[in-house]
Amino acid sequence: MIEFLAKKLDWLDVQYWFYIFNDLSLFYIIVPFFALELIRYAYLKRLDKDLVLDSIANVVTFGAFFLIEIILGILAITKVYYWVYNNISLPHLELNWATLICCVLLADFAYYWEHRTMHRIGIGWATHTVHHSSPHFNMSVAYRFGPLDAIMPIVFSLPIVMLGFDPILVLLSEVFVQVFQTLLHTEIIGKLTKPVEFIFNTPSHHRVHHGSNRQYWDKNYAGILIIWDRMLGTFEPEKEKVVYGISQPINSVNPIVVFFHGITRFVKKLRQIKGFSNKLLAFVKPPDWMPKP
């Protein structure tokens, strides 16, 4: 076992495995699954114009997000990541099963904290609210991203690079977590077996995360492992039927409105706040924070 975990892996092989899951899963899981969801919606007589337009808006926001991600990615990954890796990092780790698994788990843990931060600071929620603003819950919602969603992961994954993990491996692991998370956006799958629901993030746990029911707010931040939520006090099981969306719905399927509504609301809030330091505080204080009059 130890021999196996310590056995050196070929970079090309590892990149190929990630490629099969991270990239190709779109074709062999996500698109077929979404088609299945559409059939289900049609069967339940829920396949209406709003749902279709909502799904289109989701994909459009993903396009916008992806563009920002690519521009940032090229800058951040090639420059910042490698600078950190070569200058302020622990000894560089080799590539074997153990380091690969640890890297994915650390990326998953970083995702937990990044996600939690997105919910609990003003500027984070201004962008992440986009993901939560759909009143529906299907695979396409997973692609609903806000304009600044690409920035936070960079901040949270840099420490992993400092721990000695190769920047490319960190990046691939992050995408791996994101793709795993994507697969959870469905109403088709109910609860899985107890051990799986205990350890892993599942569609049931992530439905709770998307709930606008009060007890479901700011719960189940996990990417792959739900145990992070269990350990850090943010776990909530799915009991009451989930009502999807945010507390103040946007009632729009216009991709531009969807993509920018968080930022627009945040700017409005900043205008209402008096005093420069209070305005600054609004960026890092919880989204519902208002200075005391």
């Binding site: 310590a6 622990l90 153990a98 650390l106 000695g164 993990f165 850090l232 006090g233």
Partner: protein, 177 residues
């Protein structure tokens, strides 16, 4: 949950996972064939962004093909360094899914030959008949290192073996004996 609890638990998780990774990277050796201190592949990825795309031509499965078997032979490399002047003949054998090269014979500047001990000095981990990758043992200032290397075919009787180990680079020409 108290903030201090969050910090302690989070630090615990990070230290545990990082410690495990470092333990398996530097503390555990996976036998002689694979080095534990080589991170050369990292550098390769930087220099060759195209390597992030899966390259089908380096599929290790192709090693089982007959077209790569021509490499099973004796190969001679001439050295002219301060450490060693002369030539070494290596024997490349197929072992399982990889090719291994063993020292076979030494030849000094005057042509005097001596049988070698048959030490394994190279493992070709992937090879597609024109290009390949491997792990090469080099001795440098009395220390032995196992480093990543690339091999490239020049013609059917010649290939080059190149490596770049923290700036210590070299290209060897292997001639069919």
């Amino acid at each position: 949950m108290k903030n201090s609890t969050l910090v302690f638990r989070s630090l615990g998780i990070i230290i545990f996972l990082t410690g495990l990774a470092h333990l398996f990277s530097f503390g555990v050796s996976a036998g002689g064939d694979f080095p534990t201190s080589v991170t050369e592949t990292d550098q390769e990825t930087i220099q060759h962004p195209e390597a992030t795309k899966p390259a089908e031509n380096l599929d290790s499965n192709t090693q089982s093909g007959k077209e790569t078997d021509y490499i099973i032979d004796k190969w001679k490399v001439v050295y002219n360094t301060d450490e060693y002047k002369g030539a070494i003949v290596y024997a490349i054998k197929k072992e399982g899914t990889v090719f291994n090269a063993y020292t076979y014979q030494y030849e000094d500047e005057n042509g005097y030959t001596e049988k070698a001990e048959g030490t394994k000095i190279l493992t070709i981990t992937s090879f597609n008949a024109s290009k390949g990758k491997g792990i090469y043992s080099v001795a440098f200032e009395g220390e032995k290192y196992k480093i990543d290397c690339k091999i490239a075919l020049v013609d059917e009787n010649t290939f080059t073996l190149s490596y770049d180990y923290y700036g210590y680079t070299d290209v060897e020409t292997w001639k069919r004996q």
